[in-house]
Amino acid sequence: MRARAPGLATVAAAAVVLALLPFALSGYHQALAAQVGIFFVAILGLDILTGYTGQISIGHGAFMAIGGYTTAVMSRDHHTSLVLTMLLAFAVCFAFGLLVGLPALRLSGVYLALATFALAVSVPQLPLKFSRFLGGSGGVQSHTVPSHLRLYAYSWASAAILFVLGWLVLRGRTGRAFRAIRDSEVAAASSGVRLPIYKTLAFGVSAAYAGVAGSLFVMGTNGFAQPNEFGIILSLELLVGAAVAGLGSLWGVLVGAAFIALLPTVSSDVPLIGSEHGQDVVFGLIVVLVMLLLPQGFAGFLARLARSRARV
């Protein structure tokens, strides 16, 4: 994903490890590894928008919700196959992202962040209002539920496909336009980059990624799409994951995804405080500590490592 693409050998090795990994894991750990893949997709999408185009979003949980509900509703009402619903989630969220991207053209910086935050707050309330179609607070149950192994396969296969897609989009003309916008909108516009088109496009692509992640997310919660699952906390978690990842590094995104997917599980095993609330304490503490130690995220850490090695 970074300008200097990671070596082909590394990517191939990672692919082999990921393909063989599930056979070494129990069902429970397969599901956990699938969670990492799901967050990988979501953070990848966020990175395209924030890391490459410089537009901040605190609302990607909303796009995940839309993707998730697309899957659950289609599966419930039409018994659509889950893979097909992922494609649908991609398309629906792409369209929705374009729609959100249009008003976002007028906003920037912290105002854009808070406008997307508004989205994260509002979208999970809609199922409560339209409860007949969207199941109210009880949620929507999909018709079929994938096994742990299938979930793993779905999530990492989409992660691989979307990674390649992202690489294709970012490598050429579009990626150059995105980065130009990030570095200076005025300079980009005066060198002929059409801001409205590329900015909304970035929103659409990013939202589509989040939609696929949401679709997988629902499959991971036994096919239940519930408003609570897509609350503000989810959007904040994605932001934390992106910050831990740092910007513009594939390995960083992987670490960020693992961080938010695994940390709750790991921290609930810490006997320190001994109750279910101890989990929040440990999670919060670790988030603060990681930011104190690695303010530029894991990508910044890698860059520093590379620099110090170059000096030696």
């Binding site: 008003p103 007028r106 609330h277 603060v288």
Partner: protein, 337 residues
């Protein structure tokens, strides 16, 4: 001098011109809204009742919004932990009352503790990352949000607690309009704390230093303002305002639980953005306007049910942002390339 001429900062004369140009339509609209509220209140008792209740709620939103604005002006950071900090200090007040303090003794003791807590947080976890990356500071506040929530739930439990009502349950009847003493008290305490803060900023050396540190950190440091210390004090003051908001939000919901301030924080966000994030007046006006508006809409527009209250508030916010991309009182950012 290059550091002083950062892009996006206009000269004072420029800014005054911009502010004057911006304020005229806004003040006309606000004056219209006030006339509408007064006429409505004279026409209908229910309208008057809802307006006063909305004013009280809005004052709470406004206090927390002002706390957000204080920190945003100084460091350009949205403090996600502000609401949870307010909630935690409310629990401290609860604990003090449990230990036998009277309500008002606990109130003022809590404000002192909140100041210490806010300052300590700034020194311990914000200052180390402050100069490295804005996003890192934001993430630290998100981490604090989860951390404080966990600590409070761990210490006091997630079940509902009750605190004595500071103003009693009395209801005044003024010409057929029932006014809860609670609402009036909330409104007065919030307005008073905002007023005291304004006096501090306008008429003390500390306030001058804080304004200087927020506006032009480099220049302020050159003339001897201890910028870092001012930022810590700013966090302390924001925590005090948050504590006032928390203590005033608690009785209006009649219960104390860890999720107390989460909706309030969202409304405070909306209020701060409505006001333009840079403007303390904007935050307070935005909070009060939001409180009154939502209460009246809840009363008269039946399509906006309670679960749509929050989305509706943010829809209004979006519309305002689209019309005025930097809020009602915000200065329009002028960019130089």
């Amino acid at each position: 001098m290059a550091a002083l001429e950062t892009p996006g900062q206009t000269s004072f004369a420029d800014r005054a011109r911009v502010v004057r140009g911006v304020l005229r339509p806004v003040s006309v609209a606000l004056a219209g809204a006030v006339v509408f509220l007064v006429v409505g209140s004279l026409e209908s008792e229910i309208f008057a009742q809802q307006t006063v209740a909305g004013l009280a709620q809005g004052a709470v939103y406004g206090s927390l919004a002002l706390a957000l604005v204080l920190i945003y002006r100084a460091t350009e950071v949205i403090n996600f932990a502000q609401g949870e900090l307010a909630m935690a200090t409310t629990y401290i007040a609860y604990q003090l009352i449990q230990w036998g303090l009277s309500y008002w003794a606990a109130f003022f003791a809590t404000l002192a503790i909140a100041f210490a807590l806010g300052t300590a947080i700034q020194l311990a976890v914000i200052r180390p990352v402050q100069h490295k990356s804005v996003i890192a500071v934001v993430i630290v506040t998100v981490g604090l949000f989860v951390l404080i929530d966990g600590l409070v739930t761990w210490k006091w439990g997630a079940d509902i607690k009750f605190m004595p009502a500071p103003f009693g349950q009395k209801v005044y009847h003024v010409g057929g309009v029932a006014l809860a003493r609670q609402d009036i008290g909330t409104l007065l305490v919030s307005i008073l704390s905002v007023l005291l803060l304004w006096l501090l900023f306008q008429f003390t050396k500390l306030g001058l230093g804080m304004r200087a540190a927020a506006l032009r950190p480099a220049a302020a440091a050159l003339v001897g303002v201890r910028v870092d210390r001012m930022l810590a004090v700013g966090w302390g003051l924001a925590a005090v305002l948050g504590a006032v908001a928390g203590l005033m939000a608690e009785p209006s919901q009649f219960v104390l639980q860890p999720s107390l301030m989460q909706p309030v924080l969202l409304y405070a966000f909306a209020a701060a953005v409505l006001g333009g994030l840079e403007s303390p007046t904007g935050a307070v006006v935005g909070g009060i306007a939001l409180g009154v508006f939502l209460n009246l809409v809840g009363q008269y527009v039946h399509a906006i049910t309670s679960e749509l209250r929050l989305p509706f508030a943010f829809a209004v916010l979006l519309v305002v942002l689209l019309l005025r991309p930097s809020g009602l009182f915000g200065k329009r950012s002028v960019r130089r390339v």
